[in-house]
Amino acid sequence: MSRRRHSDDSDAGQPHKRRRTSEPSEIEERLESLICRVGEKSNSSLESNLEGLAGVLEADLPNYKSKILRILCTVARLLPEKLTVYTTLVGLLNARNYNFGGEFVEAMIRQLKECLKVNMYNEAVHLVRFLSDLVNCHVIAAPSMVAMFENFVSVTQEEDVPQVRCDWYMFAFLSSLPWVGKELYEKKDAEMDRLLSQTESYLKRRQKIHVPMLQVWTADKPHPQEEYLDCLWSQIQKLKKDRWQERHILRPYLAFDSVLCEALQHNLPPFTPPPHTEDSVYPMPRVIFRMFDYTDDPEGPVMPGSHSVERFVIEENLHCIIKSHWKERKTCAAQLLSYPGNNKIPLNYHIVEVIFAELFQLPSPPHIEVMYTTLLIELCKLQPGSLPQVLAQATEMLYMRLDTMNTTCVDRFINWFSHHLSNFQFRWSWEDWSDCLTQDLEKPKPKFVREVLEKCMRLSYHQRIIDIVPASFSVLSPANPVCIYKYGDESNRSLPGYTVALCLTIAIKNKASNDEIFSILKDVPNPNQDDDDGEGFTFNPLKIEVFVQTLLHLAAKSFSHSFSALAKFHEVFKTLAESDEGKLHVLRVVYEVWKNHPQMIAVLVDKMIRTQIVDCAAVANWIFSSELAHDFTRFYIWEILHSTIRKMNKHVLKIHKELEETKARLARQHKRRDSDDDDDDDDRSTDREDGPLEEQIERLQEKVESAQSEQKNLFLVIFQSFIMLLTEHLVRCETGGIDVFTPWYKSCIERLQQIFLQHHQIIQQYMVTLENLLFTAELDHHILAVFQQFCALQA
């Protein structure tokens, strides 16, 4: 054990004696804890804590160097919000121990290469930024950093590589400049000018077809939704114009200037960006979400402008904090609120903007949606006098801009707002939104309010919603979620099947079996007498109608009652819904019975897919059927469709996993046998051992193929249906000379976009088929544009 120097810093340490008996893993834990905690709230100043920690670590280097290297590399990668704290620490260590500094830089380069190899690009950016800030700490020589950036920028000269690859290297370069631009420009201005001019020409020539698909709002007012590289470039240009003066970033190393400038610097080894491979997957482009500017908080500190580098740094750091603490909502809220600079920036506004940026991010939020709701509630608890007002202001602004908000983002806004309200007794100044009452119900604002009220009802009950809105809002209130039983009233006794319905009702109440149900249904006439298919399974819509209506009506009391009914009479369902038309008709009847209760429809459809009464393609066909045209733009329909697609995707993954596991088992079996090879040369017994596993693999292989084929078919059905509906609309508008852009059209085309975006990884597999079969050049350019924008995302 090393003889450790005692330090006055209370964080530093353990007495010499105890250390001798500690386990290595305990020591590593303690070192990690010391390093991670530096920079947190403390009685001592950050500078004295850093000084103390540097002393402790220096003393531990002889025995724990590799552990310390590992921990420091990891904090560089995973705690970017504390970047400058740790670069300062490394700077101090380098000043005391030049070799250690060199080894650290080498370890960082190794880590960077590894990140790039395994597609961890977001973390790689943090590493690059860390390296660049090490220039400020006199650990890395500026010219060698410039050389690395020269290699980064030259990636834009590579041929036949995806644009997203060049984008990443450009982003890694530009996003480091707020930290190190000044120093690099001071030392190597000619080289930097050249790099910046190369940057400018790259940004001018790169394509931006993908942008419309990723914008939260389609309007440029009040805040343009800029492509992320464009925005960053404007910010860097402004920074350069300001002679690289950057005043927001906390730079602890400035206090140690006298110590650090005595240190010897290291040169970065020449860094060749790893080549593009088939397995490379680069981050998707982004659009910067902005909803606030300095006019929104007239009382408080001024919000940095959209092209100021301060804005970039603040947003980056807040996003990093959420990424670090997303699992711990209280910690996350506290960390966000203790972001330094509280009195110089309108922190609450930045926090709310960053959270909504994530919630509305396309294609998907970085974290599960419900996290953001709960995080905002925690923030309101911690800042009850200020945050709720900012949130209310934000909600109002989002409402005002609904007309140009992307449909997917509106979905998330609806979910967030209704869930938020349910935590605050649904208190809201609805009258402020009376403007929506005079609009066509299909317009975004009234539609939004209707969907919010429906979701609020799901979290409470119908009368509650009637009570919380002004009487004038009754036109937007949700229907009372009651079931509609067509055979219920005596007045309906002339309907075909009425008597059978009565019979069924009595039988089911008397706990009839499936067989008894079959025999009662036998007498139901088939309105489609001639549609008898060769198999002998007749599609009898009336049988389906009578059975499903009656059963669902009897089981209407709760979800559990309905699920029990589906389970008990599963056999009847399977038989009646044997054919594709049968499946479609079952879904139609479910809708007819429960159209007032969309939530019930959704859970029934889910259960029927899981119990294989209907299949995913049937649900897709049903959603696009003319019977559902009236509800086509309602939120619940798309929740059902996306839930259906997700079930299909999970199913494919599950079987794939089974196949891989079985293959692995076989491989292990072979391995075991190979190691015993010398003793056993009885071929027959080894074949016998393999047999069952090989059979299983064959069966699973078939299952995987069939599942993938079903998945492909599902997407084809969906895309084909979209194309048909949209083409119809476009043709109608053209011949009628009316404007294409109706609320229905906007909703429909954005729903098509949503399919691509939400399931992009799976859809990538079927690109060739989609291109050759469906999204061909003959397609109307409005529809084709969506496909092209999607292709541009990974181009």
Partner: protein, 167 residues
């Protein structure tokens, strides 16, 4: 399929940090079901891989539908089982929510536990798994134990506690 961007997967040269592994909301609580059949060890093993949550402090009027809507926000629900008064067979303020995937249950513990349903702060905890009989309250009067001895008035849970009511 490789996914670009951030990987929280441990890397051979780095791994992760214990402060970032902190997941206090998803940890086991101190509560252990005294009626559990098996050892403490068995119970904890089941709790650690369970997809089922116990949900408490519900209003007697909260429906399965409301629970489904709220808890559906963290993932697909396999089953909701309403807690019932053993005598009256009516809702008595608790339920079980079972997910298909443990990750979805963990998210419920992180983001739904401690928030409101029917204006009440609800509490979720890991459950070792539903068994027939566990849907009934264990209080002497048929409801939950906590409603036996409760001194305060709670309109959503039958008013005063049973002992108080009998006075």
């Amino acid at each position: 399929l490789a996914s670009a961007g951030s990987g929280s997967a441990a890397m051979s040269s780095g791994g992760t940090l214990s402060i970032l592994r902190s997941d206090s909301y998803a940890e086991l609580s101190q509560y252990r079901d005294q009626h559990f059949r098996g050892t403490r060890y068995d119970q904890e093993r089941l709790l650690r891989k369970s997809c089922t949550l116990y949900v408490g402090n519900l209003s007697f009027y909260t429906t399965e539908e409301q629970i489904h809507e709220l808890f559906g926000k963290s993932g697909d629900i396999k089953k909701v089982i309403m807690g019932l008064d053993k005598v009256k067979k009516t809702a008595c303020g608790f339920c079980f929510v079972e997910y298909y995937a443990r990750g979805d249950a963990e998210n419920a513990m992180r983001y739904i536990n401690g928030t409101r349903l029917d204006d009440r702060i609800i509490r979720t905890d890991w459950d070792a798994g539903f068994k027939e009989g566990r849907q009934y309250g264990r209080g002497r009067s048929g409801g939950q134990v906590r409603d036996e001895y409760r001194q305060d008035y709670d309109a959503g849970r039958g008013g005063y506690g049973k002992t108080v009511q009998c006075q």
